[in-house]
């Protein structure tokens, strides 16, 4: 057969998200709590900076690593999480955090390397590991432990022998956040067992109760961690496709070698928007976070009132209530009966079974209506 996909691709299933997207698209009265991106637009100042750059004809490639001015702004921005990276040599601007994750996997994995992935988690990691020639190893987390990763869970899953770990907190889909102590326990395990870490911190700015702790800042971790972050979530810039990776100079140099051949440089217009976002949009960031925090509390108390177990998610814009039983059937029936779209937890790995990912990146009035509909669905079910 011509253009036959290789085995890695052929064996990778369609994401479960896709199925619910198609179901939801069949109706036009759907309120969606299934959206994985902010309902805000990028801050106006950032958008005007992008417009101005286009007007000035700034449409060429940038340096492979991204505009230095942007890397300098990033270096300053991440100091809020005690991260210290040299803008010249330790930061790489990428086409979304997505590219950064893919680059890290392709740069550091040898064929057959094992990559521990805590579950439930963001859907791209396992396929990404496979595309890069590695073997994902699922490390289940559970509601009993607020979906936190522990050294015990890693040991039980056999992750002591893993070559790398992809760590994602604040987490998509659960909204779970790891505090300093919990992160330190995982860090010790990684140092002890010589495990590299890819830390996807894209939701770091959306941490509602205390500050985000980056594992890279803990003892023995900087040299073994690639930190990934981006503008999609905190600055509502998903469509502009801009993220970044930070790590030791040699590691970033190696990632840049892949990046320079496969991407050349991240989108130029987006880089102008991002420079302005970091320069002047702290207020917008704070306002969005405040609004998300209100909705978070609202959603969690509504689930409690309905009698669905919902642990207190403390980050990102997701809640992850238990639906008691088959999550896929629940989500399908809910969509059918009440026109509310949610994502079944099992889409994010078997450990997500029996739960629903509820995105509260939706205006307050729609959120209220959606939760009322879920409530009447739960009552009649």
């Amino acid at each position: 057969m011509t253009l036959k996909p290789n085995d890695r691709v052929a064996e990778t299933p369609e994401s479960g998200i896709r199925k619910f997207f198609e179901l939801a698209e069949e109706r036009d009265d759907v309120i969606s709590l299934g959206v994985g991106e902010p309902d805000f637009s990028a801050p106006w100042a950032a958008r005007t900076a992008a417009i101005d750059s286009l007007q000035a004809g700034k449409t060429s490639y940038t340096a492979n690593r991204g505009k230095l001015e942007l890397r300098e702004a990033i270096a300053e921005h991440v100091q809020r999480w005690d991260q210290e990276y040299d803008p010249e040599s330790e930061i790489l601007v990428t086409t979304g955090a997505s590219e950064a994750v893919d680059l890290a996997l392709r740069t550091f994995l040898e064929d057959g390397d094992t990559v521990a992935v805590h579950e439930p988690t963001y859907i791209s990691y396992e396929p990404g590991v496979r595309f890069a020639g590695g073997e994902p190893l699922a490390v289940p987390t559970s509601a009993d432990n607020d979906f936190l990763l522990t050294p015990e869970a890693m040991a039980d899953a056999g992750a002591a022998d893993a070559d790398a770990l992809i760590l994602c907190y604040p987490n998509n889909p659960t909204g779970a956040v790891m505090n300093a102590e919990e992160t330190a326990a995982v860090a010790e395990f990684c140092v002890e067992h010589d495990i590299d870490v890819i830390a996807d911190e894209i939701y770091a700015a959306l941490t509602y109760d205390g500050e985000h702790t980056s594992i890279a800042t803990l003892p023995g971790m900087r040299e073994r961690t690639i930190v990934i972050n981006g503008f999609s979530k905190a600055y509502a810039m998903t469509g502009l496709r801009l993220g970044y990776a930070m790590g030791p100079a040699d590691a970033i140099e190696a990632m840049n070698r892949v990046h320079q051949y496969t991407m050349l440089s991240a989108p130029t217009t987006a880089q102008y928007a991002a420079i302005e976002a970091l320069r002047s949009c702290e207020d917008s960031l704070r306002e969005m976070a405040t609004e998300f925090n209100r909705r978070r509390r609202f959603v969690i108390s509504r689930f409690e009132e309905m009698g669905l177990d919902c642990f207190t998610a403390k980050g990102a814009f997701y809640a992850f209530p238990a639906c008691g039983g088959d999550d896929e059937a629940f989500a399908e029936e809910l969509l059918e009966a009440e026109g509310v779209a949610v994502v079944p937890g099992s889409v994010f790995g078997p450990a997500g079974e029996g739960h629903l990912r509820i995105s509260y990146a939706t205006g307050m009035s729609e959120l209220k209506t959606a939760l009322q509909r879920i409530e009447s669905f739960v009552e009649t079910r």
Partner: protein, 162 residues
């Protein structure tokens, strides 16, 4: 943020939230919200609750003007006295003392331009302290109280995404 500040910030975006929903969003109980609201109302910060209306999309006659007022103070008349005299007219929707070339910025509303002009020339201009008035009729309102009247863009995000 302390509870009152947070409540004010929430009310400033939507004053119609009911007490139960406010309590859920602020992680507190309805009784506390009731108490805070009563305090905010009686202590002064919350002066009222109004809808933000785009009059141009109704068939009501509604005209607004921004009026610049220059005044002259004397021994018996300060800004406070003048403000008090002007603020009591129902046609005066807002009144502010401002820095710059004039003293008071007044927003006046009425059923017609004639209505508004007449009010200025008969009730405001003749006041002894007023030395000059400049009236700017509002031609078009683009944004009011933080709400962009032109902003009716739908949500074009994918309905379900990772």
């Amino acid at each position: 943020m302390d509870a009152k500040r947070e409540l004010l910030s929430l009310l400033s975006t939507d004053a119609r939230e009911d007490v139960d929903d406010i309590a859920r969003q602020l992680d507190t109980d309805p009784d506390t919200v009731e108490r805070l609201l009563t305090e905010l109302e009686s202590e002064g910060p919350v002066r009222g609750y109004q809808a933000v209306i785009d009059w141009d999309s109704t068939d009501t006659n509604h005209v607004a003007a921004h009026v610049e007022l220059n005044v002259e103070l004397d021994r018996d008349t300060g800004y406070e006295e003048i403000a008090d005299r002007i603020a009591r007219f129902p046609a005066v929707e807002s009144l502010r003392l401002v820095s710059g070339d004039y003293d008071f910025a007044v927003k006046v509303t009425g059923d017609s331009m004639q209505d508004v002009s007449q009010f200025i020339s008969e009730q405001v201009a003749p006041l002894p302290a007023v030395t000059q008035t400049v009236t700017h009729f509002v031609m078009e309102t683009y944004k009011e109280a933080g709400i962009d009247f032109g902003d009716r863009d739908g949500d074009d995000r994918l309905s379900v995404s990772p």
